[in-house]
Symmetry: C2
Subunit: 416 residues, 2 copies
């Protein structure tokens, strides 16, 4: 069993810094049934923090599989609306949301991918207003990890299940700072460090970023009025939350029509229960014009071809190669971790907070300034210790941002 | 472990006869986390029956307790609305609902009853539209049992936990007919037998029922246009469901202003985690005018005094003393079973289906004809092998209905 003090630390960190729960708020938690012991610590902590109600929506993997094993053909294209109808108004008033734990990466590995794709599309269409509500920046929210056996088995395939779970908890404690004597102070200091990168990037007002590395020569134009975000959000209901625990990235909005060049993925991507690896993509004027992968090419191709907006980027993010998650050298099969191990880009929906005055702009103007929209948002890793990033100003001036995977501006005082 | 064939039988019976699920319907299941293994059988069966989606809302007892152990004073008077807001429209269109399992009777036994009462009141107020939607007769629904350890401990306090659970499963299998070679045929035959009692009672059009037994001399006036219901409902969405499995009762609507006399309970009642026993109540013109109990008097008194409509009756039900549930001689601490072991009455809300043309009548006319309304509906048992029931016609004629706890009309052919 993992250290109970560290588990309590993590639960406190998630509620106080992650969700940033305010006294008198209601909280909705979604989690896997298998993670219920840790969820209980979080629920108790949320009540101690003054929650007026904590509701937990548990999903049961067996029931998820039952649909694919026993469901009618019709059921593959249907997802119920009632949960979304109920939650959207709650998330647009004062209810905070928290997702705990990862999806089992191989839950549906033996199911016909065509069925899974149909069910995912139906679920994505129905839950779009829910993602929009959470992403609207109205209420505070957080996504946080829990070391399940199913997940640990993927990260440490050579260890016995109990040892794999324990090792995964250790990684979670270190990367979230729950192992520190004062985890909240340690998290707060980390937030300040990442914010200093954000501040520098926002001052530069780059027109684009140039990624260079093995198999990669990609210019990512940034949206007009783009804003660098990361680690912490001030939400419209007056809360301050860290939407991801752990987190290392700073991210902004690419221009949907100004991405050109070739790019090769640097880590595998876990997508709909399958691993996609060795991705090579060519972009022209924002759109994917060719795509191949060493492994799992079909599932990625299907995604890009099925969804509107899936051929263009919605996010570009920078993460130093020295980040604690990257330093583990592990592949987590979980975006929450893997996207914090390397610079990455995402196909699909852009985040409204990464464009100034987004909500005040008409839809056509949002799009004209570069905001992409889609039912999906899929991150994949393009950074490594061999990748450099250069900022290009509106006048074509080149400013080093990252060299060999590390911040350049960070090192300037040491060099001088 | 209980017999897996009987478990599968019960799951099939619940989906096919209980919910009466129609192909293409969505189903929402609510259940206790501890009952997840049986819930999985039901979910798989629902998909086999053609459900287009099955959603399970699990409640976790630990999280329910967390509110009372760690929650703020403010949280005791709050219940979230989002689930109700989402589900009501679903239940008023085509979504079927299923409740599996019982509440742990002693879950909150160590919690301050005043806190529990406040939280129950807040939850009842918020979920009233949900009960109304289910009770509206629009969509098919069912409440069915699952033998949890917490529940079995109460029914068989002297047995070891595993043995108690096994014994409880046996009782569930027998009373639901899941132990029969063809459970669906056996259930259908049972439904027909109960329907013949209903038909006879509906033909009588009694003005009132006179209950006589030890400590009981009570005349329960029946609502104008009352309808006897039981075992099966044809819902407005075209389904046929058995809202309770098991079930033995036939029930109708008392007149909220025409109940007079004294009545003594014949079985203990499990109410909000406490046992209420030896209840003695006097009614005058429909309202409770005095109330005492040997045990748990305070919790019943609090209920009657807190809720509008809780001083008057909303249901009267007849169950023969020879019913399989009654014959077990057990106290189940669960209304689903105990109300099918004896004739009973309920304080609080009346069921719309027990009055002809209810939905077409203005609210004042519903009330004038005798329909009671309330946030609560609490059944308690007044029948036994020593209680007789006589029907009184509008002209005062007395017709024997039950003698020594058994149907009289049933026996007529044998006597002739």
């Amino acid at each position: 069993m993992p250290d109970s003090v560290k588990l309590e630390n993590l639960a406190r960190l998630i509620v106080r810094c992650g969700v940033g729960l305010m006294p008198g708020q209601a909280l909705v938690v979604s989690a896997n049934l298998n993670d219920r012991e840790f969820v209980r610590l979080v629920v108790a902590e949320a009540y101690r923090a003054g929650a007026k109600a904590v509701s937990v929506l548990y999903e049961d993997e067996e029931n998820t599989r039952a649909k694919f094993l026993h469901g009618s053909d019709e059921s593959m294209d249907f997802a119920p609306r009632w949960l979304v109808d109920g939650l959207v108004p709650a998330y647009l008033t004062d209810t905070a949301s928290l997702r705990i734990g990862m999806t089992n990466p191989s839950l549906l590995a033996d199911i016909d991918p065509a069925k899974v794709a149909r069910a995912s599309k139906a679920a994505a269409a129905v839950s779009k207003p829910l993602s929009d509500a959470i992403m609207s920046g109205y209420a505070n929210w957080c996504v946080a990890p829990c070391a399940s056996e199913a997940w640990a088995k993927h990260v440490f395939p050579d260890l016995a299940p109990a040892e794999a779970v324990e090792r995964l908890w250790d990684v979670i404690f270190v990367t979230s700072r729950a192992d520190q004597p004062d985890p909240i102070a340690a998290w707060t200091a980390h937030v300040q460090r990442v914010k200093s990168s954000m501040q520098w990037l926002n001052e530069q007002k780059f027109a684009s970023l140039h990624f260079e590395g093995p198999g990669t020569d990609l210019v990512v134009g940034l949206a007009d009025g783009h804003v660098w975000c990361g680690v912490e959000s001030e939400t419209k209901n007056g809360a301050v939350c860290s939407p991801n625990i752990p987190t290392e990235e700073v991210f902004t909005m690419p221009h949907a029509d100004r991405v050109d060049g070739v790019v090769r993925s640097t880590k595998p991507l876990s997508l709909r229960g399958q691993v996609v690896d060795g991705i090579e993509v060519t972009f022209e004027r924002g759109a994917v014009t060719s795509l191949r992968a060493d492994k799992g090419e079909e599932v990625l191709r299907k995604l890009v071809e099925t969804y509107e907006g899936a051929r263009r980027l919605g996010e570009v993010a920078l993460v130093p190669h020295s980040s604690p998650i990257s330093q583990t050298g592990l592949l987590f099969y979980s975006t929450l971790f893997d996207e914090n191990a390397a610079c990455h880009i995402a196909l699909g929906r852009a985040y409204s907070e990464t464009m100034a005055d987004f909500d005040a702009l008409p839809r056509e103007e949002q799009r004209a300034r570069g905001a992409n929209d889609s039912l999906i948002h899929v991150d994949w890793m393009i950074g490594s210790g061999e990748v450099s990033v250069t900022g290009l100003s509106a006048t074509g001036e080149r400013v080093p941002v990252m060299s060999a995977g590390e911040w350049v501006f960070d090192r300037v005082p040491a060099i001088l």
